[in-house]
Symmetry: C2
Subunit: 293 residues, 2 copies
């Protein structure tokens, strides 16, 4: 029915002086297959999901970019799938505008890494720039890996696809991208943190300051029902399983020890909460929805 | 900032053939005091909240009525606080209309019980009927308790307030209220269930049919961080602590045993999920946000 298409998926909260808006892009109902986790069997994955009231056959992977408003700037952390996404993805722009943030008022876009669900939204369906006035910021190790033409030339045809996709996305604007390194304050109130493993330049962010800091874990985990519960499991999406695992333990340990509020691109919407230790792993504790506080 | 006022708080899902829309009315930041739980000390309450990443001094009580669309009917379960609410409450009508449901298209309103946060929204700020075309349904034991003039006359002045409030709410329409009893199918797809204790006629509902049933627990618990964790704790809101406790165990046991999806008026928005046993009590497991499925 048409009413199911009512825009929904905006959640606003604060991290110190930074106003954070979590913006729902949609979800991909991924059919689970052997090999999705390199070091767990399909039945192990399914039992873990079922024990947490989730379906056995489908992993619903959700996508939630952030918009940050602070000091006159409007900063996006990632841009969603754009029009290229699977499942219901592609709602980011409509929800962002429903949240009162017009595309042409975005001043900065900070990319966590270069997977398609994070960068495709930079371009609209016609190939133009969705956010016409935004300055772009990307992790230097991510850029150096994917924009290395020699590496692309050595890749197999299947491996070449993400390299080619990124050349379409950044074509014509590559000279205007600010390349940052870990520990840089990329824009005021947003500091880049080493979270390598998922990709070579995968970056987390500390947002705000003081006790109200927000740790954006980006893709340190995919679905928490799998990878908080079993932080040693290696999703097929993780390019370097060893580094991704080390990063996951380090980041989740930090969040649990300091009781930091976190956000995460693939956490259940509104994609913010806390980390507690449970058994040999962790559990995601969603923050209570207090919209309008 | 004005952008914090963007309407938000709509979540749509299905229970069998019934389209369920959870609609956020807002929240009341209740200052915690000794006596809020009759059989727990303030430090015990505070430690329980803090262990679940919630504030120690304030219990944020949220309000989420449901709209059900099925077989040509649009049915509300409760109406929110209207304009009379504390905190941020009073957003139900605006969010309902944002969800594409105009007030004058509501065909039926089914009340779970007669506390102000559930019934005040029946009237608008001018005292008129908010939902001009809706047939009203109320639990007979609730009606018989509160609309008994002899009982009101015997009450102290403080005790009289809810009796007087209900006479304002139902004044002029009292002859048009359909009084139902437990186990009645109140409207197609919505069956009333005995959940007495919180109030004399407090009612839960089974919505939909088959494996996709939804158990609306209404106020069987207030905040799950307190009353799922400690189902024997008696909130000061529970008029009959003994019956409320028996009902809470019975309803949460049923949901846990049958792995039923539940909704609840005071569960964290979008106020739907599952019940698992944990220690000597229960834990609320929120359903994953899959808006647009």
């Amino acid at each position: 029915m048409s009413t199911t298409e009512t825009p929904s998926g905006i959640y606003r909260y604060k991290a110190g002086d930074v106003v954070v808006t979590a913006v729902w892009d949609g979800f991909n109902p991924l059919a689970l297959k052997d090999g999705f986790v390199r070091n767990a069997t399909l039945p192990e994955i399914q039992d873990t999901l079922a024990s947490q009231f989730l379906p056995r056959e489908t992993l619903n992977i959700t996508f939630t970019p952030l918009a940050l408003q602070h000091g006159g700037k409007t900063v996006l952390i990632d841009t969603g799938f754009g029009k290229a996404g699977p499942g219901t993805a592609g709602r980011f722009l409509a929800n962002l505008e429903a949240a009162g943030i017009a595309a042409d008022t975005v001043t900065d876009i900070v990319f966590s890494h270069f997977h398609g669900d994070h960068v495709n939204g930079l371009r609209n369906a016609e190939g133009g720039l969705t956010f016409a006035n935004a300055k772009l910021h990307a992790p230097r190790p991510e850029w150096d890996f994917w924009m290395d033409d020699a590496r692309m030339e050595q890749a197999t045809e299947a491996q070449r696809k993400p390299f080619e996709m990124l050349r379409r996305i950044f074509g014509g604007v590559q000279d205007q991208v600010n390349l940052f390194v870990w520990d840089d304050e990329v824009v005021p109130g947003v500091t880049a943190l080493d979270a390598k493993g998922h990709t070579p330049g995968h970056t987390a962010f500390m947002i705000g300051s003081g006790v109200d800091r927000l740790l954006m874990i980006s893709d340190v985990t995919n679905h928490p029902a799998l990878f908080f519960t079993n932080p040693d499991w290696a999703a097929s999406f993780d390019m370097d399983a060893h580094d991704a695992r080390k990063t996951r333990h380090r980041v989740l340990d930090l969040a649990a020890s300091e009781r930091l509020r976190i956000a995460g691109y693939h956490l259940p919407f509104p994609a913010t909460g806390y980390v507690e230790r449970q058994g040999t792993g962790f559990r995601f504790a969603p923050a209570q929805w207090l919209y309008g506080a």
